[in-house]
Amino acid sequence: MKKLIAILCIFMLALGLVACSQPTDTANGTKGGSEVAEAITIAGVLGDVELEGPAQRVVALEWTYAENLLAVGVQPIGVTDIQNYNNWVQIEEKFDDNVVDVGTRQEPSLEKIAELQPDLIIAIKFRHEAIKSQLESIAPTVFFDPYPTDENFNQYDEMESTFREIAKAVGKSSEAEQVLAELEDTYVEAKAAIDSASLTTKDVILTQAFSANQAPQIRLFTPNALASVILEKIGLNNVHTSEVLEIYGFSTVNVEALTIYEEANYLYVVQDNDNIYENQLKDNKVWNGLEFVKENRTFPLGGDAWLFGGPLSAKVVVDRIVNILVTN
């Protein structure tokens, strides 16, 4: 018995020692021999990040930020869940083959990220705040937050400023301005095209739908949403408002709620394998009785129009909207 207690004590002591001994070489520091470059400060929601020069090896932990890098012509060295990214985000620029998959967006592999020896990590607050210290031990990490609980928050402004900050971090500020300018041009052209298309109404609602328990669930975008601001920019008018603040930018409703907005045009995103309009709602009296259905004013934008992305996704959304509204 006593022997055992002794063994146990030694065991625990050993554990304690292991726990308390710190390695000597944790702080790797910055890589030596860096050329003299102008220091860069990027503003993140969890504090500013100082870089000695433009970041060369960037790991993006959220799809939107990877998309932003592609938009200014920079290939990230690591991105999360590339396979699913390809299913959901459709923009012209693609990742190179040597871009490394670093695991899921929720639990990216720290070891994989560290192996890549990045000089900047871009993270999103609501997923990665819990692993802030670990990420920062690998490389400077900047956090962005598109969904704060602030009533006056504008998701579109956040998208633009985040895009600018990311571009600044990789030394591509002028390219970023060019992308944004092109996007503004796209808006102007789209607005002109829509103005000349003589639509019956410019009032719209934008939805994303999926089924739960065979019944359709419809996400109805609110004016604070990124996607809604894009609508306003091309001269359309989102008529849905919500009494409560929807921080993610949409209310989830069923078909009944659409009756309030039947005069508006109906823009929608739905996945092909869960198309509630062709399955569940096909013979539904209430749906078929809605004015926009009767008058053929429902417009599909395609399942891969990413409504939560950066400038390039925004451009895709605008192109799709113009395409379908004007051709009809």
């Binding site: 055992l4 146990l8 625990m12 554990l15 304690g16 726990a19 308390c20 710190q22 390695p23 070489d25 944790t26 869940d81 699913n84 299913n87 998959d101 670093v102 695991g103 899921t104 967006r105 639990e107 592999s109 720290l110 070891e111 994989k112 560290a114 192996e115 609501f126 705040e129 819990a130 210290s133 670990q134 031990s137 969904y147 609980t149 999926f210 739960a212 328990n213 065979q214 019944a215 669930q217 919500s242 009494e243 993610y248 209310s251 989830t252 409703v253 069923n254 078909v255 009944e256 709620a257 009756t259 309030i260 394998n273 569940q280 709602l281 013979d283 539904n284 009296k285 209430v286 009785g289």
Partner: protein, 654 residues
């Protein structure tokens, strides 16, 4: 007989009146925002209002009435069948089984589900029932059945959780369904469910007399000339069909089957014909009321009605459990264990070498590359891998010790912090921090978890202090606390869609991204708590002989129970606050240990501790490397490895 008729009249007319009132309120609720007057005047004329009322609101009401009634009747039958006031489709794991089958088919055979969801649900329900029956033993002891059902539910829901995480996009609509929703788009659900439920209801009422005889006890029933087997077969079939129908049209809704028959019994209705028909009525009232309340709380968004019924039903079950436990004899079940223990002198070195082996592999391998020992001090391994592996081991050990203590106190071989509701209340506490106070940094979440665990412990303390921590009562109160905690989690999960990804990973328990700081914290807790636990092993040995013998040996039984319980709970809450709700280890490790070293608590605790650490380390390793660089949360891996062993175990325990 006259008073019975009077009571029957009161129950029937009262229930009917209530049903009409809540139904009318139910019909006025909806997102189109019509006023009551507008509804009343325009519903008679053809047009929009009529379409909405006839095409959406009435089907929703109808399916609610049918489903609530069906669940209540199923519950009533099951209670008679198992002679168990705590039986219902949800407490027996039948709902969980049906839902599991639906999720599996949604992931792997999505096209088949549309047409055959009922058959899929029936298969799942039958499977779960057979599991519970074969594992709960012949005599169908109420507590044992409830515990078995609970564990089966736990098992199914962890596998369902794993599938939802791995197939996030395919199962996105399942959250709502998972906890039950009455949303209807047309009459197809009603058209499908009504005839089946009607036939099952009529058959049940017709079998009422036979059930009356059956409830006298199987021996007496046989001597009265009843074919007991036939009655059983019919009754099981009826209750399974009723549960499977409801799961396939409205999802897994719990507690209606528990509450409705109980209300009817409280009113004083006797005889199964009346009992079942009145239960149907009251089940409908309950479910429609729950739906009214859910939509009243959050008019613009669907809160699953099943979470609502669980929120009311959790405390109700607690009350029922309290009453049932008072009438029960004290269960003096031995914990079992081998009679020929292996000497620690041999066992400890063997396990230690296994641990060293596991550590060596864990330190060296990440799923793609092998790192030699000389490289272990490199930044990547030293900062990210070594602390994580060590903390995993410590947490596993803590959970195992907590399991040994709780099982020793409860003298129940199936006790574990998840059964006592500590895990789910910790989860609920953490979720509340996450959702209600989003401005608070995520690093504070463990405090929420601790608070939740403390509340669970307080409830358990307050309700069982006077009865000297009677084992049965403790376990049942725990189940109810657990149901209540899960209901809170469900409501919060639905209320906050995007945070779900974060919550789901955390709630299923993850050893992801643990660093040196977490390791210090875990080590301190370990060093503080474990010696106390080991000190109590002597008393636990005495306690195992039963309360009377223990008292005659001069042991303060309540005192010992209270302290062991506190240490056990604090250990598991510490573990939850560091890595989230990892279950099963506290069940698995002590059981394997008992088969090796017998039932003396000192060797048992030492071996369990080492095995717990070893098990969790292995689970972490598998979750980390199998689809690297993606990860499967180790809590889910534990559940997936633990499930087969647990099933084997359930069979073995007599």
């Amino acid at each position: 007989m006259d008073t019975l008729r009077k009571k029957s009249l009161i129950s029937f007319s009262g229930g009917f009146l209530l049903l009409i009132i809540v139904s009318l309120v139910h019909l006025t609720q909806g997102q189109a925002g019509y006023s009551v007057q507008q509804l009343f005047t325009e519903v008679w004329i053809e047009g929009r209002v009529q379409d909405i009322v006839l095409g959406m609101r009435l089907p929703r009401l109808a399916i609610g009435i049918i489903a609530g009634g069906a669940l209540a009747v199923a519950g009533g039958i099951l209670q008679t069948l198992t002679h168990n006031p705590l039986a219902s489709a949800s407490t027996l794991g039948i709902n969980a089984g049906a839902f599991f089958a639906v999720v599996v088919s949604m992931v792997f055979f999505p096209t088949a589900l549309g047409q055959y969801s009922f058959i899929v649900a029936v298969i799942g329900a039958v499977f779960a029932t057979l599991l519970v029956l074969s594992l709960a033993g012949r005599e169908l002891n109420p507590v044992r059945v409830a515990l078995t059902g609970m564990i089966i539910s736990l098992l199914f829901s962890s596998i369902t959780g794993a599938l939802q995480l791995l197939y996030e996009n395919e199962t996105s609509g399942l959250f709502l369904w998972g906890s039950g929703t009455l949303v209807q788009l047309n009459w197809s659900g009603v058209k499908f469910a009504f005839p089946l439920v009607f036939i099952a209801l009529v058959t049940s009422i017709m079998s009422g007399k036979a059930l009356d005889t059956f409830s006298l006890g199987e021996e007496l029933a046989t001597s009265l000339g009843q074919s007991v087997v036939k009655v059983k077969l019919i009754a099981w079939t009826l209750s399974i069909i009723l549960s499977a129908i409801t799961v396939s049209v409205v999802g897994a809704i719990g507690f209606i089957g528990l509450m409705a028959p109980h209300i009817v019994r409280l009113i004083g209705i006797k005889g199964h014909r009346k009992l079942l028909s009145h239960s149907f009525l009251w089940g409908s009232v309950l479910l429609i009321s729950a739906d009214v309340i859910a939509r009243f709380i959050q008019p613009t968004q669907e809160i699953p009605v099943g979470a609502m019924t669980a929120l009311i039903g959790g405390p109700w079950l607690m009350y029922l459990a309290y009453r049932t436990a008072k009438t029960q004899k004290r269960g003096d079940r031995s914990l079992g264990g081998t009679k020929k223990p292996i000497s620690l002198r041999w066992l400890v070195p063997v396990i230690i070498s296994l641990i060293i082996g596991a550590m060596y592999i864990s330190f060296s391998y990440n799923g793609t590359t092998w790192t030699p020992v000389s490289q272990w001090t490199s930044m990547i391994i030293w900062n990210f891998r070594i602390p994580r592996v060590l903390i995993t081991f410590i947490i596993g050990a803590m959970l195992a010790i907590s399991g040994v203590l709780l099982q020793g106190v409860l003298r129940n071989p199936l006790a574990d912090s998840s059964i006592l509701g500590i895990t789910s209340m910790s989860g609920a506490g953490a979720m509340i921090f996450l959702v209600i106070l989003p401005s608070i940094p995520v690093t504070w979440m463990p405090i929420g978890a601790m608070l939740g665990a403390i509340i669970a412990m307080l409830i358990i303390f307050l309700t069982s202090w006077k009865t000297g921590f009677q084992p049965i009562l403790l376990a049942l109160i725990g189940i109810s606390v657990s149901a209540f905690g899960s209901a809170i989690i469900q409501i919060l999960v639905v209320k906050s869609r995007l945070v779900v990804a974060a919550a789901l990973v955390w709630l299923s328990g993850s050893t992801y991204a643990k660093g040196w700081n977490d390791l210090y914290l875990a080590s301190i807790l370990f060093i503080l708590l474990v010696p106390v636990a080991i000190y109590f092993t002597r008393h636990l040995n005495t306690l195992a002989f039963g309360d009377e013998i223990a008292t005659s040996h001069g042991l303060n039984v309540s005192h010992t129970r209270a302290w062991s319980l506190i240490i056990g709970v604090v250990l598991s809450a510490s573990a939850v606050s560091i890595v989230g709700t990892i279950g099963f280890i506290g069940l698995l490790a002590p059981h394997i240990a008992r088969r090796l070293v017998g039932y003396f608590h000192f060797p048992l605790m030492i071996v369990s501790m080492m095995l717990g650490g070893l098990l969790l380390s292995l689970a972490d390793f598998i979750g980390r490397v199998i689809i690297a660089p993606k990860e499967i949360p180790s809590g889910l891996v534990v559940a997936l490895i633990g499930a087969p062993y647990l099933l084997y175990l359930l069979r073995k325990i007599k």
